[in-house]
């Protein structure tokens, strides 16, 4: 039992690292995120290793959670101009790709759109054969333009992925180093939303390759030879190859890791998790040890996708939020000093009153700045600010709850000092040890998953139960392919959505299976 795991969370403000052994957190550290992400990781890991007294060779797996890819998309930075090939004609010409996209994104990503013949009915049969010549012609044109990033979508690709596979092979024959995203790899039923996810992903692939390479290099520079994994949205892991190819799968890994970390640190399976950061507080709901996911559509940087994401409510309240006394009462946020807290907050000799200043005075805390610098704050004012903060959190917690029944509330993140005592609607308020690095813990304990999202015909495929068995096995196989230990894989959830308005037995089935990472399974079941 001497195998250690290293969990790292690269946030906008801080880079957190933990070393875990089995279910135990050995040591944790919080360092500032640096301009070059690799440097910040090297710094945080070096400090963590020093604290633990461990040799780099003791680390057997490294898990990194990062919000860099989604941030790049939100900030329109590091995106590649790309080409889109949609296989659907003679259908869909009324709604070409990117119709509803924000103008600034379209300007960056270009309008290199190719629509070709091909596609399938919901039954899986071709309505017209794939026009291979048109795809080759598109590829030649894309090559002439010097573009490498390409998104490919096809009608009913979730049940006929081979259409996209064939197109990819043709394109790759002409542009060998093309970076291609297939819609069937990143989304379910719903051509536009699935295609949007593929386009977002393709635009990020070049940047993703760069970031993953720098992370791999950072780990290598630390003399750690263990495999590296990247956290994805559902609280499970991606290999570095998968993360390079599918950066969109990491776009909400941050909140997910916090929620999973909170579950682990408290042992709870059902709870509300409140992650208080510097600028925002994210409130999520833990169900069966995983974040509850949104059911409807999601927007990433103004683009609609049907991408799975944790259902998280973000409010503009954090440890750096600015506190003001206005005529109509106390105002907390939404402005925040953010990562400038060490220059701006009163505690650090700055000019700005922040929530952290008030919390330190209210709770008589030491270890954060100079408490003498907030000693002058009026007690009544301080207690009113703390009430205002608590009310905001209570309100948000109430919004996320599914029933009026009190549930445990877990406070995590660097700003968790802002709330003390009872929270309305909570059966208990927990702030476990290592709560401030719960996100890195969430990364370190992540499992691997496999998913199925397909249309099945209950009438033709041997009936509902037989079909569900097939779908479950497909999800389990996908989890094992992703690196799960077959002995630990179990089906986490099954959703059936019948096709409406039709005299058929077609049902959209979604299954998710999860298991322990094979490399760690025997030694550190989590």
């Amino acid at each position: 039992m001497t195998d250690y795991r290293l969990g790292i969370d690269v946030g906008g403000t801080n880079t957190d690292a933990v070393i875990m052994r089995g279910r135990e957190v050995v040591t944790a550290t919080k360092r500032a995120t640096t301009q070059s992400v690799g440097d910040g990781v090297v710094d945080a890991v070096t400090v963590t290793l020093q604290q633990s007294g461990l040799a780099a060779s003791a680390i057997k797996a490294v898990m990194i959670g990062t919000t860099q890819f989604v941030n790049a998309f939100l900030q329109r930075k590091n995106l590649s101009e790309l080409a889109i090939i949609r296989i659907s004609l003679p259908r869909t010409d009324g709604v070409p790709p990117m119709v509803s996209w924000p103008k600034d994104l379209r300007a960056i990503l270009g309008s290199n759109i190719y629509m070709t013949k091909g596609g399938a009915y919901y039954t899986g049969q071709d309505y017209i054969p794939l026009d291979e010549e048109a795809i080759a012609a598109a590829a030649l044109d894309i090559k002439a333009k010097g573009l490498k990033a390409i998104a490919i979508s096809a009608n009913f690709a979730p049940i006929r992925p081979d259409l996209e596979h064939r197109a990819r092979d043709i394109v790759r024959g002409i542009i060998p180093d093309a970076m291609i995203t297939l819609s069937s790899d990143v989304g379910g039923i719903g051509l536009i939303d699935r295609e949007n996810a593929a386009i977002i992903n393709a635009s990020l692939m070049a940047f993703s390759r760069e970031v993953v390479t720098s992370l791999v290099q950072a780990i290598k520079n630390l003399n750690i030879s263990a495999p590296l994994y990247i956290s994805q949205n559902d609280g499970t892991l991606l290999t570095t190859e998968a993360a390079e190819a599918y950066p969109i799968l990491t776009c909400s890994a941050g909140p997910t890791n916090s929620i999973r970390g909170a579950a682990f640190l408290t042992g709870l399976q059902e709870a509300v998790v409140v992650d208080i950061g510097g600028t925002t507080t994210d409130i999520g709901f833990l169900v069966k040890g995983f974040p509850r996911e949104t059911t409807g559509v999601n927007y990433i940087g103004g683009v609609r996708t049907n991408f799975r994401m944790p259902d998280v409510l973000s409010i503009a309240l954090g440890g750096g939020s600015i506190v003001r006394e206005e005529e109509r009462g106390i105002e907390v946020g939404p402005q925040s000093v953010g990562f400038h807290i060490r220059e701006e907050a009163l505690l650090f000799g700055g000019p700005t009153l922040t929530t952290t200043d008030v919390a330190v005075k209210a709770r008589d805390l030491s270890g954060i700045g100079d408490p003498a610098k907030v000693a002058h704050l009026d007690d009544d004012f301080v207690s009113r600010v703390m009430d205002a903060i608590r009310l905001r959190i209570e309100d948000a917690v109430d919004q996320m709850k599914t029933s009026s029944k009190p549930v445990p509330v877990v406070m995590v993140g660097g700003g968790s000092i802002l709330v003390t005592g009872a929270v309305a609607g909570a059966s208990d308020v927990l702030m476990p040890p290592y709560a401030e690095v719960a996100n890195a813990v969430g990364a370190a304990i992540a499992q691997v998953s496999g998913r199925v999202d397909k249309l099945y015909d209950y009438g033709q495929d041997g009936g509902r139960l037989a079909v569900l068995e097939i779908a479950k096995q497909d999800a389990i196989d996908a989890a094992i392919r992703a690196g799960a230990d077959p002995d630990t894989v179990e089906v986490l959830d099954i959703a059936e959505l019948p096709m409406m308005h039709m005299k058929t037995n077609a049902v959209q089935v979604k299954v998710r299976a999860v298991g322990n990472l094979f490399a760690m399974s025997e030694r550190a079941a989590v």
């Binding site: 659907s88 003679p90 259908r91 869909t92 010409d93 009324g94 709604v95 070409p96 119709v99 509803s100 009915y121 919901y122 039954t123 309505y127 017209i128 009608n155 009913f156 039923i189 719903g190 051509l191 536009i192 939303d193 059911t295 409807g296 919004q399 599914t402 029933s403 009026s404 249309l455 959505l497 019948p498 096709m499 409406m500 308005h501 039709m502 005299k503 058929t504 037995n505 077609a506 049902v507 959209q508």
Partner: protein, 365 residues
């Protein structure tokens, strides 16, 4: 004459169309994008009031028929719709002077607008239901004897069928069979009529209503503590002569879905936010058909039920409902055209297999 000129107008209209869709009618998303594309190409639909249409004008409805799941994959083809127009004109032997939506609730509110913009044909501010219904004979046109057929139907691959039947129930059956054969999505021209007939039968100003409802919800979010109350004020404005009420405020505790005979059946169970013993069940048959509070009928078809997110007042289709959502259930009196004795023969609760008569929302208070 009204215009839909900005993406915000389209978004407002789509939101309003989901509200009037009473849970069904299909997500207008695909139609919304189709219309948005027309705007981007510099075309906007010309919307005319019913009275602006000449008595001897030739009016038809253009609608998609099929499965929402297929619509979100196969989307819509502009070329197919233009082909349909040309074939319909040849089939009826007349130039089409104006288009009208058969069903303002849901997806079919958008297609006539986008096609009207593309082809330069005016679109009438009105429809045949003022809501969404599952059957062809449940339109004010059909109720007044303007049959859905003769019709021209087309799919994106160029398969064309014409159907003429003595009644709209049979038309419906033939249409479904064709639709199934062609991959569960077809487009057709229905309810061919004169301008005079249209003026007698159409439910008026429902495009305007979708726009105003959508806009009202959006603006109420910014200005009202409770956006639902802003919407209620709009719906109950005496000049509209209709009645709306919040029927329930609670959390969804269960949703069941079932596909039987090609229709979507189901039920939504809700529990009050304040009293765990106070419950409501909303029955679904494609649309929300009836709501019963603690076993007592609170509203029943053809009166309209909409379920809104309780914080944002966003209208939710039946497919969007799930355990844990906090919602408000809104009751809205149907348009007067659907509450007549003649209309109730085709859209009363008994026509949906319920063993009870229609009672107006106002009397169920």
């Amino acid at each position: 004459m009204k215009h839909i000129k900005t993406p915000q107008d389209i978004a407002d209209m789509a939101r309003g169309a989901v509200f009037l869709g009473t849970g069904g009618g299909g997500d207008p998303y695909v139609g919304e994008l189709f219309l948005l594309q027309q705007l981007e190409e510099g075309r906007s639909p010309m919307i005319v009031t019913a009275d602006d249409v000449a008595d001897d004008a030739f009016v038809v409805s253009i609608a998609g028929v099929g499965a929402p799941t297929v619509l979100v994959e196969h989307l819509v083809s502009e070329r197919t719709l233009l082909d349909l127009l040309a074939r319909a004109e040849a089939f009826y032997g007349r130039k089409i002077d104006a288009l009208i939506s058969a069903e303002i609730g849901g997806a079919n509110s958008m297609f006539p607008l986008a096609l009207g913009a593309r082809a330069g044909i005016p679109v009438i501010d009105g429809d045949g239901m003022g809501r969404a219904f599952p059957h062809l004979e449940m339109t004010t046109f059909s109720i007044d004897g303007i049959t859905a057929t003769p019709t021209v139907m087309i799919d994106d691959l160029g398969n064309v069928a014409t159907v003429t039947t003595p009644n709209d129930r049979l038309a419906e059956d033939m249409l479904r069979a064709l639709c199934n054969t062609l991959g569960a999505m077809v487009l057709g021209s229905f309810y061919s009529m004169s301008g005079k007939q249209m003026k007698q039968s159409a439910v008026r100003d429902t495009i305007t209503q979708t726009l105003e409802i959508g806009r009202c919800i959006r603006e109420s979010r910014e200005t009202c503590e409770d956006p639902v109350s802003g919407l209620m004020t709009y719906l109950n404005d005496p000049k509209r002569g209709r009645y709306a009420r919040v029927l329930f405020d609670g959390k969804i505790t269960d949703v069941t879905h079932e596909t039987r005979d090609g229709w979507h059946w189901g039920a939504v169970s809700l529990q009050s936010m304040t009293d765990a013993n106070d419950k409501m069940v909303v029955e679904i048959q494609n649309e929300y058909l009836a709501a019963r509070r603690n076993g007592k009928t609170a509203i029943i078809v053809p009166d309209m039920i909409s379920i809104l997110d309780r914080e944002t007042a966003e209208p939710l289709t039946a497919e969007m409902l799930h355990y844990g959502l906090r919602v408000k259930v809104i009751g809205y009196s149907a348009v007067p055209e659907l509450r007549t004795e003649k209309a109730l023969k085709v859209c009363s609760p008994r026509q949906f297999g319920m063993n009870e008569d229609f009672l107006p929302l106002e009397s169920l208070a």
